[in-house]
Amino acid sequence: MIRLFGIGVALAALTAAACGGGQTEPAAPATPPPTVSPVDPATAGNVTGKIAFEGTPPKPTVVRMDSDPNCVQPGVATTDELVTVGEGGGLQNVFVYVKDGLGNLRFPIPSETILLDQKGCHYVPHVFGAQVGQTVEVLNSDQTLHNVHAVPTANQEFNTGQPLAGMKHVHRFSTKEVMVPFKCDVHPWMRAFVGVLDHPYFAVSTADGTFSLKGLPPGTYTVEAWHETLGTQTQMVTIGASENKEISFAFKSAT
């Protein structure tokens, strides 16, 4: 009996240790983010530029959406968004951001909410950025079900159902991570990507491939351009006080 009790106590202790039940040092409270930007607007500069696609862009593939009749729009052939090239050869949906060079600067969390809409069985926008702690609202605008499944590596994974139109899911990412994929397992063609950063210097290239990083303090930065299928490229850029610099990236198909 005593032996059984001993084994029980040992197991309980082991379980408590495994579950983190032992005494641990209380984590130091995180310093709250500042409420004002540390950047002096009088000396801030901008980095603008264009993302080009070199060569012949791949032909977009028609997405078969007939597994859910609610997604099918008669007479409309929806194509994938893997490589979207504009008329001038500009590459859309490239996430451009300052990867390095901001030092220990800390930035306020924007109060504006970022909307990720599920519309026509597609994520809108396909690529976007958010700051750590910023509110991201995922909305179901469709007359069908979606599951919102974020598959990060550094942040917490989540998967939530939205069976009815108008349903919303609010999320705030806790750690910087480029990129966090969103997917809908009901409609496997639905993909979106969010770049989560601890600063506001990011942009997504528009239909003509242009982008702009505004309000950067003078300094030397590593700027990275990320594309979901074409990979990443980086460039160093130095901007002086109130200077505007232009840079460009050129992606080409891997095959």
Partner: protein, 332 residues
Amino acid sequence: MLHLFALLVAASTAVLIFAGGLVTSTGSGLSVPDWPTTYGWSMFTFPIDKWVGGIFYEHTHRLIASGVGALIMGLAFWLWRAEPRRSVRRLGYLALGAVVTQGILGGITVLWFLPDAISIAHAGLAQLVFCLTISIALLTSPGWKRAYARSGSLTNTHSQPLANDQALQWVAIATTGLIYLQIIVGATMRHTGAGLAIPDFPWAFGRLVPPVWSAAIAIHFAHRVGAVLVCVLALATVAHVLYHHGRRTELRRPSFLLLALLAVQVTLGALTVLSGRDHIINSLHVVTGALVLATSLVLTLRACRPRFAGADAQTVSPGSALPKPAYVGAHA
């Protein structure tokens, strides 16, 4: 009747394994994010017009699983009430426990975003549940009960004493064990996304042995090597049966079936790779693997039939006044 019901349960379990294969092959495992509910509904009242996209595969898998669970519950109850052999009753309880555990594993793997270990365990336990239902169906069959004799006990169809061929028993046991191991390696390949790690067939990157290695390539290649080993061992078993026991129908039939299923299975495996993992072919590969295992198990149990003579004598049925079947007394 009990035997027929056990056959129905085993067939339903095979259908369930096919449905589970479809869930994995279509990547629909997380299309219903909640469990045991379905988008907040009870799974039995979830509106049929919402069975769209990946939900169709995941939700039907859950419904079939519920049905199979109920059938196995019924089987265990029937065995408890009517089966005189304690060992067979226990198989029923074991099947019930296994299918309940299987349901919980299925729920956990959804709630924990399909961790590889849980998903592989879910796939592995599914095969064990199938094996249990097959075993019960076999052990309740008239042929097994009369020890495959037309008259007398422990004799074959030609009224010869059943040979306790230990060589056959061991090679059949090894074949069945290896097939199960091969299925686990296959499940690991599926759930770690290594199904197309080697994109060509029958070669591996144009060679017999892959020129480059990664964890995914190693798992995939292990599955191919496993297939060769299974074929060799299965051929050895079948050759032994045909050479030494060619007149024993109860061994010859599953031997031929095993060969036929293996041929189908290898073809489906090749087509899975060549088709870029077409979900129907991929799921047929999963369920055919289960049928190969079940056939080998039946062959093994029949080869080991003389060993079960003692177990047949254990007919103690607490609280039951059921009579002992005639076949027990014949050799007890």
